[in-house]
């Protein structure tokens, strides 16, 4: 690895931590209702929306009402996106006249965007109208992210409030997340990206005259849209020549900004952030990568401030950063080492000032190996799921890193809000385990952790692995599941395991060779996304409600301090042990055996 590669890595981590601090402090003020002066001009908008919806700032909700409000709101989001897709043919802003997606795909996509997953079983530029992209998918990018942030804030209130019945108002938390945090950041990022070359227009596709005409072959289609077959049953191939290139454009920059910031990840184009119009330059790439982890990292700081002890936030952030950096190093190393196949064929894969080298299959020249590996690690550490390189073509270990980061439960930064509340659930388990070891009642942030909290934490931790492993098992033993696999051997198993790890943890990235746009996968992955999202949110809100009702216990001699390096290690250990024990057998059948085959065959 070159010196520049190391510099890019260091710069990324340092910039992330440096920006997380001020943003975290700002968000803490927003959620406490102390809007800073430079944003106070938005106050009248907030008040107007509240009045319109008859929401009152001081109308604090018990956790059950908070959960119901969130579920109703998200359900309406699913229905809206479903309807927008099914009706896009007769709705405006559809310059290419795209037909409505089938109902199983529409269901999958609606669930995918409302749950902040953004799994995409479709190719954006050839499936979704501009209206569907903006008003359906784009709006849900904001609203699903804001829902996750609201849950985190409610959980923080659970630690702060004493003998209280309520944990805040969902509508106010939601509105503030959108208005003061997500919207301003998105506008700034979107404009910066346009400056770098990301397109932003309502016009239809552009057509240009090619410098060289391109000859190509394609199957002749019959009137039913199916390939015509000859007497031997082979499709009839016809040769054609095109002198033009049709270039898909659209209102892309606005969508990309929020898909990066809100850990959504749903690309405007099929190739996601590998597409030059979504991610045109290395600088745009750096900004988009920073945006993936920015809010999840900053929320750690916010949490520390909300609970009145900044060290607690810094501890959680440290644990996340350490795991991230370690796995990042593995991913970069694996991709830079490359595929022995290329070396066997005499191809030059050495990194130098003239080329990135390494495993360039499925990677873009402008990003090379290092930036592509950083992106893959960041996008799966956070539950973002956008890609700037094709994970399916990564080396076995390079692909194992993103897969395992998802399987850890999306708690290494994780989704906006959801990553941190997931990590706090792990912290509860960590203090519980420590409590068993030292024989004391476990406490966290001044609240006793008792049977109810540990039960809810267990539900939240066990649901995603259950979805991933059961889903994968069902898919690999059924014809409908196996028929979607693109690559032979262990890698094919990895494709299925990756898909369910992604849906079952609300990530949204894919080993994209898998043909996932079938009723089988649309339905099964759609259900996995629903369960993964709401079977975590409800237990977490239940924990918040239960904690809020408790007294605060003073720190005593038997209290395990939760702001020390020791606790960082204990927390990391809990996350890693759960993740490793649960998934090692499955990983052994996929990427691990594939790696052994790769090094063994040369």
């Amino acid at each position: 690895m070159t010196g520049n590669g190391i510099l890019q890595l260091v710069l990324y981590v340092v910039s992330l931590l440096a920006l997380a601090w001020p943003l975290g402090a700002y968000m803490a003020r927003v959620y406490e209702g102390r809007i800073p002066v430079f944003m106070a001009w938005l106050r009248p908008v907030e008040r107007a929306v509240c009045r319109l919806a008859s929401v009152r700032d001081d109308d604090a909700m018990p956790w059950t009402r908070y959960a119901i409000a969130l579920l109703v709101f998200n359900l309406l989001g699913v229905l809206t996106v479903f309807a927008l897709q099914r009706l896009q043919e007769i709705l405006p802003l559809n310059p290419e006249g795209l037909a409505a997606p089938a109902s199983d795909l529409a269901f999958n996509t609606a669930v995918s965007f409302a749950t902040n997953t953004n799994w995409q079983a479709y190719a954006g530029e050839s499936t979704m109208s501009y209206l569907t992209q903006m008003f359906g998918l784009g709006a849900q990018n904001f609203l699903s992210a804001a829902s996750g942030m609201a849950v985190l804030v409610a959980l923080a209130r659970g630690f702060v409030r004493r003998e209280a019945t309520a944990i805040g108002n969902f509508w106010v938390d939601l509105l503030r997340s959108v208005l003061y945090i997500l919207l301003p950041l998105s506008i700034a990022l979107a404009l910066a990206l346009v400056g770098q070359g990301v397109v932003q227009t309502f016009d239809g596709h552009a057509t240009i005259e090619l410098v060289e005409p391109v000859g190509f072959e394609q199957a002749r289609l019959g009137p039913d849209g199916q390939p015509i077959r000859d007497a031997q049953g082979q499709p009839v191939i016809e040769r054609s020549v095109t002198r033009e290139q049709t270039i898909a454009v659209g209102p892309v920059a606005s969508q990309i900004a929020i898909k990066q910031l809100g850990t959504n990840g749903g690309g405007f184009f099929n190739a996601n952030s590998a597409h030059p119009f979504e991610n045109p330059t290395p600088l745009a790439n750096f900004l988009e990568m920073l945006s993936i982890l920015l809010i999840p990292a900053a929320l750690c700081i916010t949490f520390g401030m909300l609970v009145g002890d900044r060290r607690q936030g810094a501890t959680l952030l440290s644990a996340m950063t350490l795991v991230f950096v370690a796995l990042l190093a593995v991913c970069v190393w694996a991709e830079q080492s490359g595929n022995p196949l290329f070396d066997r064929l005499g191809v030059d894969t050495r990194a130098s000032e003239l080329q990135a080298g390494g495993n360039m299959e499925g990677k873009e020249t402008r990003f090379g190996v290092v930036a592509s590996a950083v992106w893959a690690t960041a996008t799966t550490a956070a539950s973002n799921g956008s890609v700037s390189a094709m994970h399916d073509s990564f080396t076995p270990l390079g692909g194992l890193v993103p897969m395992w980061l998802m399987q850890l439960g999306e708690v290494i930064f994780g989704g906006v809000g959801s990553g941190l509340y997931g990590m706090i659930v792990f912290a509860l388990v960590a203090v519980f385990v420590a409590g068993l070891m030292i024989g004391r009642t476990p406490e966290y942030l001044g609240k006793k952790i008792e049977a109810f909290e540990v039960k809810m934490a267990a539900v939240a931790i066990l649901v995603p692995p259950l979805l991933v492993l059961v889903g994968t098992a069902v898919a690999v033993v059924t014809d409908a599941g196996r028929s979607g696999i693109a690559n032979p051997g262990a890698h094919g198993f990895s494709e299925v395991l990756y898909a369910f790890s992604s849906a079952g943890n609300n990530n949204g990235s894919a080993f994209a060779g898998l043909s996932a746009n079938t009723p089988f996968y649309n339905l099964l992955l759609g259900l996995a996304m629903l369960f993964a999202r709401y079977w975590l949110i409800v237990p977490v809100l239940a924990i918040a409600g239960s904690l809020a009702a408790k007294k605060s216990v003073p720190t005593g001699a038997g209290t395990l301090p939760t702001h020390t390096p020791l606790f960082v290690l204990l927390l990391i250990g809990t996350v890693i042990v759960v993740g490793a024990l649960t998934f090692l057998p499955a990983l052994a059948l996929g990427p691990i055996v594939e790696h052994l085959q790769m090094i063994g065959s040369h």
Binding site: V211, N270, A274, N487
Partner: protein, 209 residues
Amino acid sequence: MLNELKRALVILGVLSALTGIAYPALVTGVAQAFFPAQANGSLIERDGKYVGSRLIGQYFVDQRHFSGRPSATAPMPFNAASSSGSNLGPLNPALEQTVIARIEALRESDRAQTAPLPVDLVTSSASGLDPQISVAGALWQVPRVARARHLPEQTVRELVLARTEGRQWAIFGEPRVNVLLLNLALDEVAAETASRPPGGRDRGPGDDG
């Protein structure tokens, strides 16, 4: 419950309009006002018609042109209406066959070139639309292009180096060469050479002495 449903409907309506209509409209307005070229696809105009986008690659097979990254889009390579990678796994026999075929084709294009092939010339890009190749990938093709165009290798190499983009801000990404822009520049050089009177000295358009 019913109250929350009413609130949910109102808030969903208002926030969807704000984030799904007003926000993209605002960004479009500002983008079209301040960055019209970028916002509309960074299109390149030559003689009154669009010949490409500086961000979207094109497929080149002519020996006189530099070729770009292999593209896995269907049905034709560099289909900018349907971006896609190959998604071939590292041990997939199809990857091996494809890479061998690409190596053969490139070796065939220039038997005298014995330097090892840079990896980006034989591996497909993630988007299938990659507009660039590595500097090594461009330099590897210099002798062939020079021969096909009857130009000195030095001239073509200088053109490549002049078109090389370094790391952005000297840090980010990788050094690279935009294939379409390089080929357009080559075509211009060729057009100038062709319009030059035989044996005469170099004449610029404004040079009437």
